[in-house]
């Protein structure tokens, strides 16, 4: 077991060094990000819905920094914590009008309705809820490197759980994936206050 641990530790060390190298070499404005794609990754211009039937192309969101989070509204533990953390950080922003937090439900079967709007409004009225067809969701999650797995309900029509990435993907105002954060702590708020103050 010990050698495995050392190998794992070594890999982690290498990975962290690589991340540092990427961050330093690009002088990226996201010092607390856990990952910054190099170069920034342009996302496919997918069409999603806001749960009330209104369609939104991702390109329609261009012009603002996007904090993109994947989850599902019935999530009992992970999403509520992440949403509370994101709301807390959003409230700390000095220029919140330049940032749009977007919650993308990977569970359109239950969330392609008004429940999505109710959910995001419950946390913060400025947050946008989106979902869409399975193909669009899959293409978007693949593009940013997110993952999710929908469990099979124990009985037909019963409740079920969804495992999903607990990460915030940052898109720049051109709609490119430029950084990935964990939702906790205050990393997003600190980095964005520094970033938006500089401009």
């Amino acid at each position: 077991m010990t050698w495995r641990r050392y190998i794992l530790t070594g890999w982690l060390g290498l990975a962290l060094s690589a991340c540092d190298a990427v961050t330093e070499s690009s002088q990226a404005p996201f010092p607390h990000a856990i990952m910054t794609p190099q170069p920034a990754k342009t996302l496919p211009d997918l069409t999603l819905t806001d749960g009330t039937g209104s369609e939104n192309k991702l390109s329609n969101l261009n012009g603002k920094w996007i904090w993109l989070y994947f989850g599902f509204t019935h999530c009992p533990d992970v999403c509520p914590v992440a949403m509370d953390a994101m709301v807390g950080q959003y409230k700390k922003l000095k220029q919140a009008d330049q940032v749009l937090p977007v919650f993308v439900s990977v569970d359109p079967k239950r969330d392609a309705n008004r429940a999505l709007k109710t959910f995001t409004t419950y946390y913060h009225p400025a947050f946008l809820g989106l979902t869409g067809k399975r193909e669009a969701i899959d293409e978007l999650t693949r593009a940013v490197g997110a993952a999710y797995v929908i469990d099979t309900p124990a009985k037909p029509g019963g409740d079920y759980n969804v495992s999903h990435s607990n990460l915030v993907f940052v898109l720049d105002p051109q709609g490119r994936h430029v950084a990935t954060y964990t939702p906790e702590e205050k990393a997003l708020a600190d980095d964005f206050n520094a970033l938006l103050t500089e401009k």
Binding site: H74, P76, S163, H164
Partner: protein, 197 residues
């Protein structure tokens, strides 16, 4: 002589009535909880009955569904996160203090306000950042230690609320342990401001 016979008949009648009352209460209790009663709880109830004297067993049976209250397990904090509107699954958190010299395991739980309560933990995939909720058969509370259920870690998953769950109210949770003991606790439902702290 007549007085003695009368007293005996009265005593028999009282005992009969008392037994009927206990039976009726048990019946009502089992009816109310039948839909929630798990195989684990039934196992606890069956396993415990040989160790209890009939008199105590009846009293305990009425109060605790056949289980002995857990005397050396303390609950320091119990709370449930207020759900967003329409949520069908909620998370509950408890801090356990096991003051005994042997491990105890939480094996099942019920709550009148929910169709089902499951024990869950969270695992994380370091590569994808994916978090996965995993249902546990039991959650061990090590001897002489404190186990803290917390957001993003071990928790109870309360499934299928039977009514609206409001911030500030107290619910009743019945927790069943591997040694056949039962603990009842009363978590408060915390709104977002409190639970975020």
């Amino acid at each position: 002589m007549r007085a003695t016979i009368t007293r005996c008949l009265s005593a028999i009648a009282i005992l009969g009535f008392a037994n009927q009352s206990v039976a009726a209460e048990r019946h009502a209790d089992s009816d109310a909880s039948r839909s929630q009663t798990t195989a684990n709880q039934l196992r606890h109830q069956v396993a415990l009955s040989p160790h209890q004297s009939p008199g105590k067993a009846e009293k305990r049976g009425v109060a605790n569904g056949g289980c002995i209250p857990a005397p050396n397990l303390h609950i320091a904090d119990a709370w449930i996160r207020q759900p967003p509107p329409g949520a069908r699954m909620l998370a509950g958190y408890i801090t356990f203090q096991n003051t005994t010299s042997r491990n105890l395991a939480l094996t099942s739980a019920t709550c009148d306000a929910f169709e089902e309560v499951q024990i869950h933990t969270i695992t994380r995939d370091q590569v994808s950042g994916m978090v996965r909720m995993v249902r546990l058969k039991e959650l061990v509370i090590p001897a002489n230690q404190t186990l803290v259920m917390a957001p993003g870690h071990d928790h109870l998953m309360l499934i299928g609320p039977k009514r609206d769950i409001l911030a500030g109210e107290k619910l009743t949770l019945r927790l069943f342990f591997s040694d056949g003991t039962l603990k009842e606790c009363y978590p408060d439902v915390r709104g977002r401001a409190k639970s975020a702290n």
